[in-house]
């Protein structure tokens, strides 16, 4: 897995590349926590357009960040879900509590 982050419109934008399973969750969790500790952002946007696989370990990391962000009134937004990623996201219930857009550009222009 690789990741790329940027900050736009009070939002930490994270682009993930590769498979998100238990072999990368430690790294993903600590990277996200460090960014959220140090950057003045309210929202988190996760771009999954380059992710072919995610399992419950990966969903757990997203849920953990969701809890943190929403506690301080922010939003977690997902973009670029491939069908197999959407399948597990839907089943997990995460899609019901997070916002989803088809592209990062569209999501950023909809953040108030």
């Amino acid at each position: 897995m690789q990741l790329h982050t940027s900050i736009e419109n009070h939002t930490l934008v994270i682009n993930l590349y590769g498979d998100i399973d238990m072999s990368v969750t430690e790294n993903l969790r600590s990277t996200l926590e460090e960014k959220l500790d140090n950057e003045p952002v309210s929202n988190l946007l996760i771009d999954l357009s380059n992710v072919e696989f995610i399992d419950s370990s990966g969903l757990g990391v997203i849920l953990g960040r969701y809890n943190r962000i929403t506690r301080s009134g922010g939003k977690v937004i997902l973009t670029g879900l491939k069908p197999q990623v959407r399948n597990v996201m839907e089943l997990s219930g995460l899609l019901r509590i997070m916002e989803e857009y088809s592209s990062t550009g569209e999501a950023l222009s909809n953040i108030s």
Binding site: D21, M22, F53, L63, V88
Partner: protein
């Protein structure tokens, strides 16, 4: 193709092996009429079961072994994922959605395995280990729809 085929792999309890395990099993399963979508579900089942063996069964100890046995019979696919770890005290409780023994976990591993299979069984003996058995059929897929999906 022969109507019966079998695969056994055993590997160290390292999370680096997750990707290899799910790709190997999905490639093996692709010999029968599974759609791409179903092969993706098989990858999730393998990933969930192996992750559980590593984190829960072995408490992340890297020197243990996880074994996978897969069998194709006609258009049926059977999968066993086995560890020799701590076992599960209360299987019914472990299978409840969102029941998890650790923080920051969704408790969805068994939920995914159950949703993506037609049959799931958990055999577990405390201090001896755990074997998860899963079956999935490709029989309803015609030649045509598995090629185009």
């Amino acid at each position: 193709m022969a109507t019966s085929n079998q695969l056994t792999i055993e590997f160290s309890s390292l999370s680096e092996n997750l990707s290899f395990a799910r790709v190997a099993v999905a490639a093996f399963a692709s010999q029968i009429n599974f759609t791409m979508h179903e092969l993706e579900e098989i990858k999730v089942m393998v990933s969930e079961a192996v992750s559980n063996s590593i984190t829960h069964g072995y408490n992340n100890s890297p020197d243990e072994k996880v074994k996978i046995n897969a069998v194709i019979q006609g258009q049926n696919f059977h999968l066993e994922i086995e560890d020799y770890g701590c076992g599960i005290e209360d299987i019914e409780q472990a299978m409840e959605p969102a029941y998890s023994t650790s923080e920051e976990r969704m408790g969805l591993g068994f939920v995914f395995m159950q949703s993506f299979s037609e049959y799931m069984n958990i055999d577990s003996v405390p201090e001896k280990g755990t074997k998860v058995t899963l079956s999935k059929s490709a029989a309803s897929n015609t030649e045509k729809n598995y090629v185009t999906n």
